[in-house]
């Protein structure tokens, strides 16, 4: 089995840990629990070509700037999930800024973007035009919900295929 390191990156409170919990344990808690440092989980997946992949998920504490984070956490990563909260437009700006910083530290490794909390329709702040603008740049961005699981599996699988080249 092939093992790959995947990092979860994004501002605090965007739902990175909830996304991992939904993907790995199919569980969700609406109680906010801050991540300190990094939390490691694993998930084994079978890809379309029958490749068995173990994803080692590094759920890194939320930050709006890599300078406040130990960049060693990114060392050896094969890809990352860039997570933003669709109900806080500024977290998407943060995510895009983090992407640039990651590229400076780790190079152009594969990523998939998540606009999380898609279940909170009334509070949604990312206009469709902005979302479409992300897709136009050939970036994989998914509207996800850790609460009801929408698009979570799909986003992780998309990244799995990307890191396997």
């Amino acid at each position: 089995m092939i093992s790959k390191k995947i990092c979860m990156v994004g501002d605090f409170g965007v739902g990175k840990s909830s996304t991992v919990a939904r993907y790995v344990k199919n569980a969700f808690s609406d109680k906010y629990q801050t991540t300190v440092g990094v939390k490691i989980d694993t998930k084994e997946v079978s890809l379309a070509d029958d490749t068995e992949l173990k994803m080692v998920l590094w759920d890194i504490a939320g930050t709006d700037n890599l300078k406040q984070m130990n960049t060693n956490y990114l060392r050896g990563a094969s890809g990352y999930l860039l997570v933003a909260d669709g109900t806080r437009a500024e977290t998407l700006e943060t995510a895009l800024a983090l992407k640039k910083q990651i590229e400076a530290v780790a190079g152009n490794i594969p990523f998939v973007g998540l606009l999380n909390k898609a279940d909170l329709v009334d509070d949604w702040e990312i206009p469709d035009s902005q979302y479409e603008g992300l897709l136009v740049r050939s970036w994989d961005f998914y509207k996800t919900s850790a609460l009801d699981g929408d698009n979570i599996e799909r986003a992780f699988l998309a990244l799995a295929h990307k890191v396997m080249g």
Partner: protein
């Protein structure tokens, strides 16, 4: 640097080992676990076995195969309640040392602080969002208040304007009426008085029509009713209608038409006339000397009608406002008008799929051009009976007028008697039913809004009792639904008040199939 004394080193080693539970793993260059030492049991490492790939039980080393210098990973959560500081060091022989040091105490103290900090920041973000929404709502409310104030201002201005517009013609109507009542006018003055009263009444009617049209547009109830129309007749009517007023003002009114004669098209004739009347009326009203030129053409499905005048013209900065409802050009506000004509015209043209343009500059007159798509008709439409010449009735024909307003009753009685009809009068719906059943008139004029029994119910009862002569509804409501209701209960046709004598007699004779006397 001097070496620490043995007993100090021993003390430190004991304390570190006791507090940090160090566990060290030796990994070869292929990622296989060679051996381990320290407090390994402190960590959940199921299947720990020399010779196996180290990432099977310490997955955090994935991707760290080759390093040249020590790396530290602080506060790494391996499982529930297991948080370690991880040190990864290169081995001289190739491979790695992985050192785990328990960091649960540090994690717990930092987690509490970080949790509080993040919660406060999230609350602040939510608060900002609520404040933004409040500001947005406040702005919307202010905008709505400004709109309401503007609407109120326009309404006040409109009421003030209407008061003037209504009072002016009423002054001449009431004044001449009083003189007529007192018998103060000789035969030549009678002619002037009747013309003045008729013109004042016509002006009031036009104001009411404009106000009602505007209300219909506001309520989204305006609809077009297409029928065959002869454009030649329409434009000739304009010339005939405005020639007397132009002559009175000393203006030349000219018509230049390239329409084929006749020019039958499918259009809403009433609205088309209204558009042309609005343009011609403005041109004649605002031009004090010179010329008003009407030109019209029909090409490729478009009817184009232009009105050019030698009036005062419209300044460029005013041109963007003149199609707004209630707008009056300040320098021309002494002229009568409600400021609705052009607004209504534009709205009607929009419904018709046409357009209205203006070319003008101050002091150089104005030219309004309307174009409207209309389909040409190859067949000639049936001529309306409205223009049929009226001649005296040759037998006694009974007409019942059911109307609660005594003045209207008296007027209709005069109209009908002057045409030779025998007139019966009912003041309520019930009276109308009783009189009709008793006298069986040849035709009934039924006001639809009457006390005791309204016209709709009266007509229903009459039809139910077998009365099958024509019944013409009289109403002051132009609403299409009222017309439909009148026809539904059994009326043959519908007359909207005010009704001119010619119109009334023409309609009556049409339904009686007799030729009535034109008083």
């Amino acid at each position: 640097m001097a070496v620490l004394p043995d007993h100090v080193l021993s003390y430190l080693q004991e304390n570190i080992s006791g507090r940090l539970s160090p566990a060290c793993f030796y990994v070869d260059a292929h990622g296989k676990l060679l051996s381990w030492s320290g407090v390994v049991d402190a960590y959940p490492l199921p299947g720990l076995e020399a010779g196996r790939a180290v990432d099977e039980f310490i997955p955090l080393v994935v991707g760290l195969n080759e390093i040249d210098f020590p790396l530290v990973f602080p506060l790494v959560g391996l499982a529930e309640d297991v948080v370690v500081n991880v040190h990864v060091l290169p081995r001289k022989a190739g491979g790695l040392y992985v050192l785990l040091l328990d960091a649960m105490d540090e994690y717990n103290s930092r987690q509490v602080y970080q949790q509080k900090t993040n919660e406060v920041q999230l609350l602040n973000a939510r608060l900002k969002k609520v404040l933004r929404q409040l500001e947005k709502t406040q702005l919307e409310l202010e905008q709505k208040r400004a709109e309401a104030e503007e609407a109120s201002r326009l309404k006040s201005r409109f009421i003030a304007g209407m008061s003037h517009e209504f009072r002016t013609p009423l002054t001449s109507i009431m004044g001449y009426t009083e003189m007529l009542q007192r018998g103060m006018l000789d035969s030549s003055q009678l002619n002037v008085a009747s013309q003045s009263i008729a013109s004042g009444a016509q002006h009031l009617m036009s104001l009411i029509d404009n106000i009602l049209d505007q209300a219909r547009f506001a309520a989204g109830e305006m609809a077009l009713h297409n029928a065959p129309v002869d454009l030649v007749a329409v434009v000739n009517d304009m010339q005939a209608m405005f020639a007397p007023l132009a002559e009175q003002k000393g203006l030349n009114l000219e018509l230049l038409s390239t329409l084929p004669e006749p020019c039958w098209v499918e259009a809403d004739g009433m609205r088309l006339r209204q558009l042309l009347i609005n343009l011609c009326s403005n041109a004649v009203k605002y031009t004090d000397s010179g010329l008003v030129m009407l030109t019209c053409a029909y090409t490729e499905g478009q009817f184009v009608f232009a009105v050019k005048d030698t009036g005062p013209g419209i300044a460029e900065h005013e041109q963007q406002f003149i199609f707004n409802e209630f707008h009056r050009i300040p320098s021309q506000s002494a002229k009568s008008g409600a400021g609705l004509g052009l607004a209504i015209s534009q709205q009607i043209l929009e419904m018709m799929g046409g357009g209205l343009t203006l070319q003008s500059s101050l002091g150089w007159g104005a030219e309004f051009t309307l174009s409207v798509p209309v389909s040409s008709l190859s067949r000639r439409a049936e001529t309306s009976r409205a223009g049929t010449a009226l001649v005296p009735v040759e037998r006694t024909v009974k007409v019942l007028v059911a109307e609660d307003n005594p003045d209207v009753v008296q007027l209709f009685e005069l109209f009908l008697q002057s045409a030779g009809y025998d007139v019966l009068v009912a003041k309520t719906g019930q009276q109308a039913v009783d009189l009709v059943l008793q006298h069986v008139p040849d035709l009934v004029l039924m006001d639809m809004s009457m006390p005791v029994l309204d016209g709709y119910t009266a007509v229903q009862q009459l039809r139910a009792k077998g009365f099958d002569s024509p019944i013409l509804a009289l109403t002051a409501s132009p609403a299409p639904q009222d017309k439909a209701r009148a026809l539904e209960v059994g009326c043959n046709s519908y007359l909207l008040k005010p009704i001119a004598m010619d119109e009334l007699l023409s309609k009556v004779s049409e339904y009686l199939c007799v030729e009535a006397k034109n008083g």
